[in-house]
């Protein structure tokens, strides 16, 4: 059951109503390849912005995939996930920029992007263990509150330790990723040449890295899900006492989920720092944690395809749809003959501004309505759906395990 051909056949043979994931992966893969081509073609080569947007969305996909391990697989509620994101981003900022010169250390560190990516991963995982080890014994909801507190503390520490982190201004001018060797050619608009220490600056480069990282993470998470560890997570999620009775070391397995989730977040944070070339404490607040949680729950907790769709959807609502509304409303008002609504007039702030003010309300209503209509998420995990809809376990609900026996 591996290799591209087998995967393709699986897309073909699986009924999407039974298991939409192969179809979702297929559509995502095709879109990932087609998107930059479409973006460049439809804008006459000016599509860098569009590509960059999707690369940013990829950061959120990574975050949602990681949080899905914690919330969806292991059933632990993490309300401070952005803290690990911040830790990853600041790790990159410290280890790959000139910034440390202005701190009491007085020496800059410039480690390569690829190495810092791994360092960010381990640093965040380390913090996950430090936070999780004493607190994972707590009942589920208390864990949520501890993580919430942690999520509030970390950005404030980064903000307050101005001597090390430049406070609210954040750290700017972070290093760009480099490839040791790269071949230029007509595809990048240059003559053939072998370049050493090629710097990835363009948004297409970041996009490609992002797609590769997301692909890698999907494979990783999927393997985890069907492994012994994944089954232990699900057992703990469904019934902790029963899982412990079956010989699962629940504290260790929860700690593992927590650390792996944190690792994903740190990983995404490092990439985010490199892409944006700037980290600031304002970017990692409670809102970010909640946004990621919304992505996971709304997409379909525990289901990787659903989580990816959820994160892309929420990302596009927050960063594309809502900001695009005010100008849209203005142009509609003008073309429908309500042009007088556009400029501000007395108490009326102008239709653009008014729609701008509506965005909280619209986002809130989207969340409430989606959850009311599909409480189990847009693309729920099969096991969950059967539990919810059928209620009785008519058929085995252990996902795919019979298809892929593994005992890693």
């Amino acid at each position: 059951m591996s290799g591209p051909i087998a995967s393709l056949r699986r897309v073909w043979t699986t009924d999407p109503r039974q298991d939409p994931n192969p179809l979702v992966y297929f559509v995502l893969a095709v879109t990932a390849v087609a998107y930059p081509i479409w973006a460049q073609a439809s804008t006459d080569g000016q599509g860098d912005f569009l590509i960059s947007v999707l690369a940013d969305a990829g950061v959120y996909v990574l975050l949602a995939l990681g949080l899905n391990v914690v919330v969806g697989f292991a059933g632990l509620l993490d309300l401070g996930y952005a803290a690990f994101f911040a830790i990853g981003a600041y790790t990159y900022a410290f280890l790959a920029s000139e910034h440390l010169v202005v701190t009491p250390l007085h020496t800059a560190v410039h480690l390569p992007f690829w190495i810092v990516l791994l360092i960010g991963l381990f640093v965040a995982a380390g913090f996950g263990v430090i936070l999780g080890a004493p607190t994972l014994r707590l009942r589920g909801d208390y864990l949520a509150i501890v993580t919430l507190g942690f999520g509030e503390i970390v950005p404030r520490i980064f903000k307050n330790l101005g001597e090390w982190t430049s406070g609210v201004n954040g750290i700017a001018a972070l290093d760009k990723p480099q490839l040791p060797l790269w071949i230029q050619g007509p595809w990048s608009g240059d003559p053939f040449a072998v370049v050493q220490d090629f710097k990835i600056i363009g948004s297409l480069g970041f996009y490609v890295i992002m797609v590769l990282l997301v692909g890698l993470c999907i494979v990783l998470v999927n393997n985890l899900r069907v492994s012994r560890i994944g089954r232990a997570w699900m057992a703990v999620r469904e019934d902790e006492v029963a899982a412990a009775a079956m010989g699962v070391n629940t504290v260790r397995i929860k700690l593992l989920a927590f650390a792996i989730g944190a690792a994903f977040s740190g990983f995404a944070g490092s990439f985010y720092g490199a892409k944006l070339s700037l980290v600031s404490p304002e970017n990692f607040g409670f809102t970010v944690s909640i946004t990621i949680l919304v992505m996971v729950v709304l997409g379909g907790m525990g289901n990787i395809g659903g989580v990816i769709v959820g994160s892309l959807l929420i990302y596009s609502i927050i960063f594309l749809f809502l900001p695009a509304l005010p100008p849209l409303a203005e142009s509609w008002a003008t073309s429908l003959g309500f042009g007088s609504l556009v400029p501000p007039d007395g108490d009326w702030p102008g239709i653009g501004q008014e729609v701008q003010r509506l965005k909280f309300l619209i986002f809130g209503l989207i969340l409430v309505l989606t959850m009311l209509l599909r409480p189990q998420g847009l693309i729920p995990s099969r096991a969950r759906q059967q539990e919810l809809v059928a209620g009785v376990h008519d058929e085995p609900v252990i996902e795919d395990l019979e298809a892929e026996p593994s005992d890693r």
Binding site: D141, I145, G149, R357, F360, L365, I366, M371, L372, P375
Partner: protein, 349 residues
């Protein structure tokens, strides 16, 4: 036999561990108190009393919000993220009612102000109650049997909706709230310390509300129904308690207290803003956990303690570290005493 021995040993180990953790917590508290004391002595007693009074006033407001969190959590196990915004709504509704009742800035703060203020107080409280019950009906009740996180997300959504409504209503700015409480101060003995009348008013109003809530829950039939539903919803239903009505009543009472808190906040700090409830709610929720979530007296005490910590930290340390300190204490409390400072009473909820 072997099993029993194993159990006994586990209990002993847990006991030792618990004692160790309590000792650790005591050490930590002792250390912070010593640091605090040295600073307090250096700055004089008048300043200290002032800080403590502020702490009580802040803490009473937090306690009012925390009660709603704790009651709702106790009965439906939901972190009602919209609760902080119901608190803000109380401030907004009362602010809009002030001119209706002819109360404006600079009005002589005499007895003729009291009656309309009281009327506004009651109307805003009831309005907040109605809003919260509506939210419960629309966004939480349909999801009572859905996966646990679904109502959490609708709670976040409702929080955005409320903030959005207030944003639309009065815009994104800091709104001035007229100061209508008398500015008199009461001298406290020879220390030179004073208590402002409004500090006292806030503390007294909050205290009255909290005591009446506590009496309500302990003495009335509905209060009994609430406690029963919190303990075991199904069993309570079998005993003939109308679960839906009881839960709605819980949301109503929680919101009434939050609405009162919102108006008190406005009168006390003289400003409100649409996203005020976000941070206040977070801190109040911390207070609820601090006192042992689900525990009403715990929430009140938790609110006062958090208010006091905030005031002491603002007064003697650096206010930019205050929230770090509050949340660090929260984590430590949960690590050392997972059921909160009043945790012993948790089973009652």
């Amino acid at each position: 036999m072997l099993h029993a021995m194993k159990n006994a040993r586990a209990g002993l180990l847990a006991g030792r561990r618990g004692r160790l953790m309590n000792a650790g917590l005591a050490l930590l508290i002792g250390f912070s108190l010593i640091v605090l004391a040295t600073k307090a002595v250096a700055l004089g007693p008048a300043y200290f009393i002032q800080i403590v009074v502020y702490g009580f006033a802040d803490g009473s407001i937090y306690a009012l919000i925390a009660l709603g969190y704790t009651m709702v959590y106790g009965i439906v196990e939901l972190i009602n993220f919209a609760h902080g915004d119901v608190f803000t709504l109380g401030g907004f509704i009362s602010l809009s009612l002030l001119p209706v009742f002819g109360l404006i800035e600079g009005q002589s703060a005499g007895p003729e102000v009291i009656l309309p203020l009281l009327a506004i107080f009651v109307i805003s409280m009831l309005a907040c109650g109605v809003v919260n019950v509506t939210i419960e009906r629309v966004a939480y009740r349909p999801l009572r049997h859905a996966p646990r996180l679904a109502p959490l997300i609708t709670a976040v959504g409702m929080s955005f909706v409320l903030e959005g409504i207030m944003f639309l209503w009065r815009g994104p700015f800091n709104l001035h709230y007229p100061s209508l409480l008398p500015a008199d101060t009461i001298a406290l003995g020879p220390t030179g310390a004073t208590i402002a009348f409004k500090d006292l008013a806030v503390i007294v109003i909050a205290l009255v509300l909290m005591v009446s809530l506590s009496l309500f829950v302990e003495r009335t039939k509905l209060g009994k129904a609430m406690r029963a539903t919190a303990q075991d919803r199904d069993a309570a239903g079998l005993m003939g308690i109308d679960i839906n009505r009881t839960i709605a009543a819980t949301f109503f009472i929680g919101a009434v207290l939050a609405g009162a808190g919102g108006m008190i906040y406005g009168l006390y700090f003289n400003n409100v803003v649409f996203d005020l409830g976000f941070n206040a709610g977070l801190v109040a929720f911390t207070a609820a956990v601090f006192g042992g979530i689900g525990n009403i007296q715990g929430a009140a005490i938790g609110g006062l303690v958090i208010g006091m910590i905030q005031s002491l930290s603002d007064g003697y340390f650096d206010s930019s570290w205050t929230q770090v300190i509050i949340f660090a204490i929260l984590i430590l409390v949960l690590v050392f005493r997972p059921t909160g400072i009043m945790g012993m009473r948790v089973p009652e909820k």
